[in-house]
Amino acid sequence: MSCYRFFSVSHCLIGLIAFILLFPVPGSAAPLRLAIVLSAEEGAYREFGSELSALLADKNVTVSVTDADNALPASDFVIAAGLKAAFAVARFKPAAMLAVLIPKAGYGKLLNDFSAQIQSGTSKFSAIYLDQPIKRQLDLIRAALPNISSIGVLYSAPPMELGALRMIAAAHKLVLNERLLNSALPLHAELQELLAGSDALLALPDAAIYNAATIRNILLTTYSNKVPLIGFSPAYVKAGALCAVFSTPEQIASQSVGIIQYYVATHILPDAQYAKEFEVTVNEQVARSLGLDIKSASQLRSEIGTTK
């Protein structure tokens, strides 16, 4: 269990003990009643639910899977997949909930909206964020495009992670060009201006700017300016972004198992955390067309996996 990066040392030790304890000593304890609540019975939510159920099949856990529109089954521990599920579950005041497939900003809103119930000790919440840590994203940019000196970001409101982004970009010797989108102006002019001074554009999960209706023109504009777009999901790379780092539902499910085991052993929920395991994907056709001599996805994955 390679937990050295995102758990503290003490958490690691406790986790290890928990791992040993949870491992089958038949009849030693009542099984954990686990509810998996999905925002929707489809796509990544379903993949996550299936994978987690499979991973827990031989553990001392009874699993019930439901969706966010149904009542919460009787349970000791709830895993909520997606923002909708997390909010729905929180209203049932569960003893412990792990939110997954949820961005850090979404989890922040959850904590804010249910702060009373957390402070009173009624509920314990934790999360595995769907976002990748900013450092990991910039490590990818550095590994994929070692010669660039600036990156651009475009947002409709300053993102929560902006401070970290500025700091880590500076540490990577990357000039960060920021544009706050003034909605009175067309996206195109802002983007053109930003691209004129940027070697790459880092897409942010800002739904006002990056959505199904705008992605086409963003990609065409970046491409015609010979500026690669760095995405944050495989869909971006399929559409035409140069590369992205992301975690799959399976990887998040695997990390969830560790947290469940830790909770069983200690009744403590670890702090909300980023996904430990991740993958890199590269659009080789776009890279070639832009004249970029980029490393393979597996090379990039192993390179950023070793950066501290």
Partner: protein
Amino acid sequence: MIFSKFRMLLNVVTLWLAYCLFVSMPLCHAEDNFISEQAYLQDFPVVLSASRLSQPLSEAPNAMTVIDRAMIQASGFRTITDLFRLVPGMYVGNVSGHDTVVGYHGVSDQYSRRMQVLIDGRSVYLPPFSTVDWEDIPLNIDDIERIEVVRGPAAGSYGANSLQGVINIITRDAGSVGGLQISGNKGSYGVADVAAHMGQAGEILDYRLTLSHREDNGYGASILNDGLFSNQANLRANYHPLGPDSFDFQLGYSDSRRGLGTAGKVDDLFRDVNATSGFQQLTWLHTQENGDETRLHFYHIYRNYIDGRFSSANAIAPVTQLTSADRQDLELQNTIQLGKSNRMVAGLGVRSDYVKSPDYLVVPYAIHESRIFAHDEWRIDSSTLLNIGAMAENDGLGNTNTSPRVALNYHINPQHTLRASASVAYRTPAIIEEYINDPGLTPGQSGTYVSQGNLRPEKIQSKEIGYLGEFSSLDLTLDVRAYDDHVSDIIFYDPALTYWPFGFANLYSANYHGYEGTLKYHWNDSNNVIVNVARQFMSCDATGTLTNPGMIAILQGFMDGCLSQVPDYSGSILLTRRLPHNTQVSAGYYFQSSLTMIDAIPQTMMNRVDFKLTHAFGVYGKPGSGELALVVQNVFQDNYSNYSLISETSNLAFGRRAYLSAAYNF
């Protein structure tokens, strides 16, 4: 001059209404745009699919010159044809201010028939002369995204008549223009251009519309009537519902009045030509999840050219020459990824050309061409790329031709690439060459033309080796090649009796070989230079049979002079330097040693320098921003001579000229 024809207006209005109905602002106004996981989980269709991605030089199966927007802006040129001065081995000659001859590796007459010219996949190489009337193309130079000039035959990828090369013009995407920009040029020699570019990118519909006017006095010489007065409209719209399909719709219209005539020439009186042309084009692109795509492409072009040759009061008889052409073309193309290292493009197409020219052709002609093509790109390993392709066509004149090409690109390492390629391609005889019957009834005409028909297509066998060095750490690219092209069955004037009438016959073959190179260097973040050099050699052999063997001495005379049809040396240097305060200075140097086109008066050496100073203001692309520029062409007044068929105009100099250019974004 009627600018807005009803049909075009109707099209514009229809599209505008569609836009107003379907488009809303691209931005939603969620309270917090970062909290939902949907941004991470949502799926998108493939946007940058194979047909949208340009091929990098290191992977191209041909030598290729790319002229991008930065080069267009730095050059200061206001006509599309002048841009080809930036291509090594390309000849750009002016018969008059608005009649330009563009040819690669020499031309055998002013129609320059050996290159295909495509605009967004639409062939503007039109019958009956099988040439491109550059002034007729409803395309403003500012709407060009880039021009890819393929140097060498490429029928497997670009279709019929891609003989010595292909000019592939890619226009700006429908969603690439935001707001409204008004621009104009005003300067010497009557230069007075104005253009309005407007557009918007929407959720499901993007459009851009350009209305432009261009005007000048040509050479401004009293011996030549060569003024130009041209109005153009160009609309591009893209409807892309949120899925794998997109529909690109384009239409354009051009209406020009140009001066023609040479003082003192009774068969070339001063008069106006009215040329109208237009096109409609629809492309359906369907992209699959794995990147495979299907593209269905239809276009229609029409062109009417009315030469008021003898409508002048001085004419012997009032005769107006009308030449009209109409083309419809439909093509289906599939791009299929065959495993990780192999991609195939294959398709088929049909084309119908209809030509009416009562003065040259006894009856109108309809020619139906059909073609199938396939091209495979195989990455044998990480350093070796093999391109194999072919096109088979029935040219509608009774010829079936197969044009294969094979090219091997070998990356010694990412910086160094070697390329070797061999190809065969054909040029279909022009309708005029095959069918002309001009008995010389037009008053003052010095001779008659009667074609014997049964022409074979011209054939090229081309071989080349190339080297590309891309030194990204130095910001330097070096692209050189050596080529050896053999063109056989060249169609040429066939003097039938003592001299007149002329027909056309497959009379000679020519060998072209030489070296070409391009060096690009960018330094200190603000300086850029592009150097193009070509060294050309040519020889000809009479291979055909003259209708009248007694005329062999005339043909042999042309063969003997063949060597000088290409300049020994030619090239260009485009230098750009960014200065403080949003100012940029650029200079172009264009040189060409003397030459004698086979049917024209000898041309002297050219050493021309152009200069441009640009100052930008405001925030790039935003309302209130813009640009002011001063362009001076032929700064040092080099009196090089141009393409001329008659001695009276052979010494016309392209006088130094200057114009001011301004653009403002609203």
